[in-house]
Symmetry: C2
Subunit: 332 residues, 2 copies
């Protein structure tokens, strides 16, 4: 079975571990040598940021580290056994973005990536080179090799109180990490997406898939940016495989992250039903054939088969059961 998965970072990586387990693979290691199955992850790159001259790809790296068993599962992001010496020093120099901690192991990844990018390799080739070391078992594709960056427009928090505050645009990471998503977005835009093209392999993976899954990642800044790359939405709509999404909300709230705040910015209610309707049915200009929501909830999404199952990705077995439910709702 060929499975294509649209994924963000930490949640996407967890979901992919469950897809691997569903196929009987080690969720945190390489794919079996003799398998005919294949998993291709199409990963959001609009969170990427260049700091200290280093190109940082948080979502790709979360997938890379998690799926190869290198992630710090306790902290929830970054590398196991990480140290933070360089970040402390960079802060000592008063260098940019002290709110963005870079682990020393992580910096090595960014140095290798940046050097290859600066030498002219596209991000997809660089990612393939990193995958060659880590063997995450999954083919990791950036959604695009082009520069796309999510920017968030907010009222300037530094503006004088009382005045109508002027609007400023923040890089997604500044809004998310520095301000903890605490500044109400006026709008959220994946800058550059309209001029981008899918990375090599992305459209092919969607066309060749037997099953297409949309991970329970942020519908706005992860899944939303992937489908904002021209060609990807059309490929999903014309794919022969069914498309099934997993709701990113349980009881109206994200398990992790700030999907609710992002949804509010695009005028979508924080309910599984509203997200399902936002994705829409393939039979009606949308993306989905099937949709998983959490046990005990209901969602009426016209044209989409909805199934309520436990959605907490507490371990790869629990997540594998969600993938099985995706197959069942899709009938494959």
């Amino acid at each position: 079975m060929h499975i294509a998965v649209l994924a963000g970072g930490v949640g996407g990586a967890k979901f992919l571990a469950g897809v691997k387990r569903h196929l009987g693979w080690d969720p945190y290691g390489a794919a079996p040598a003799d398998t005919d199955d294949e998993i291709v992850a199409i990963v959001n790159t609009a969170d990427d940021i260049r700091l200290h001259g280093l190109q940082i790809c948080p979502d790709l790296d979360s997938c890379l580290y998690t799926l190869s068993g290198q992630a710090d599962t306790e902290r929830g992001w970054g590398r196991a056994g990480e140290t933070w010496t360089a970040s402390g020093e960079l802060a000592g120099y008063g260098a940019e973005a002290p709110w963005f901690s870079l682990g020393d192991k992580d910096i090595a990844t960014h140095l290798v990536r940046t050097r290859m990018l600066d030498a002219g390799y596209p991000l997809s080739s660089v990612t393939a080179a990193l995958v060659a070391r880590w063997q995450p078992g999954v083919t990791l594709l950036p959604m695009t090799d082009d520069r796309v960056e999510t920017h968030v427009v907010v009222a300037d928090p530094a503006a004088t109180a009382g005045d109508p505050a002027p609007l400023i645009a923040l890089h997604f990471q500044e809004w998310w990490v520095r301000h903890g998503a605490g500044l109400t977005p006026q709008s959220i835009s994946p800058i550059g997406a309209a001029e981008s093209t899918p990375a090599p392999g992305v459209l092919e993976a969607i066309a060749a898939a037997d099953l297409i899954l949309i991970a329970p990642s942020n519908p706005v800044v992860s899944i939303g940016t992937i489908v904002a790359v021209p060609g990807i939405k059309q490929a999903l709509r014309s794919a022969t495989a069914p498309v099934v999404a997993v709701a990113p909300l349980i009881g109206g709230a994200p398990v992790r992250g700030h999907a609710d705040v992002c949804l509010a910015a695009i005028g979508v209610e924080s309910t599984a039903e509203a997200v399902g309707r936002h994705y829409g049915a393939r039979s009606d200009q949308g993306l989905l054939d099937g949709y998983l929501i959490a046990t005990g909830e209901t969602a009426d999404v016209p044209g989409v088969r909805v199934s309520a199952v436990p959605l907490l990705m507490s371990d790869p077995d629990a997540t594998a059961a969600m993938v099985q439910a995706c197959r069942e709702v899709a009938g494959v």
Copy 2:
């Protein structure tokens, strides 16, 4: 008193700590706020190397870290409390030059430096910015803002035994660190030196000095490259201040490093006398008015006043005594 010092890395830094102590300053801290004295170090940059996309300036950083009390005095180079996480990871990626260990603290310095260089700032401005944090007490000037790199020509160690081995050129660091200076140099050349110009402040510091000192650094790859920058030798020859060198050899051997091997490559014997004659007298196309050699040795250097004193830089007090001896031999 204004003192200008030509210096390499570790030995140059130790010598500068003694110059500070000679003036009554803290050898490992900032200069006193109320002093009229000044120390300007003109530092070799021909050991500099770009690895992993990072611009690394070993000699400047040795001075920076040592003179601000941040050096690891036990290991003899790099930062105190250093960690090596990123280097281990870079090796895991099979990235270039695994023989060159980069500490995590050190990487932060290189990230800040490289970012500023890539933004268009000359190395002298970048160095001034780093100095602003560390307050080494000494004005640190790179010998040049231009790219100069010492290359060492050796018989290819990978060539088949028995054949006349073809010659290859190695970057100085590869020859020094990777091969431990164990490959006999056919020649040593500071590539780019002929087209370089002194960094801002270098010629001015030499002209304004009351005393000019040549640290007991490597006469070939440290001092030799500094005076290979067009204009610097002439400035030394026309300076109003006396020029005094400290012999880099005790009993015919360097205290640290491989000066003897480098001297052999340029046809100079490994004796204090031969180095003194190599530098030569200002009265005869050379550089020196005075020259310190180690107690118990003799050196006949025509036109140069020679004084034999203890030369081991065991601590800043011992080194300060050497500086006092430099003043005495120079008569200032």
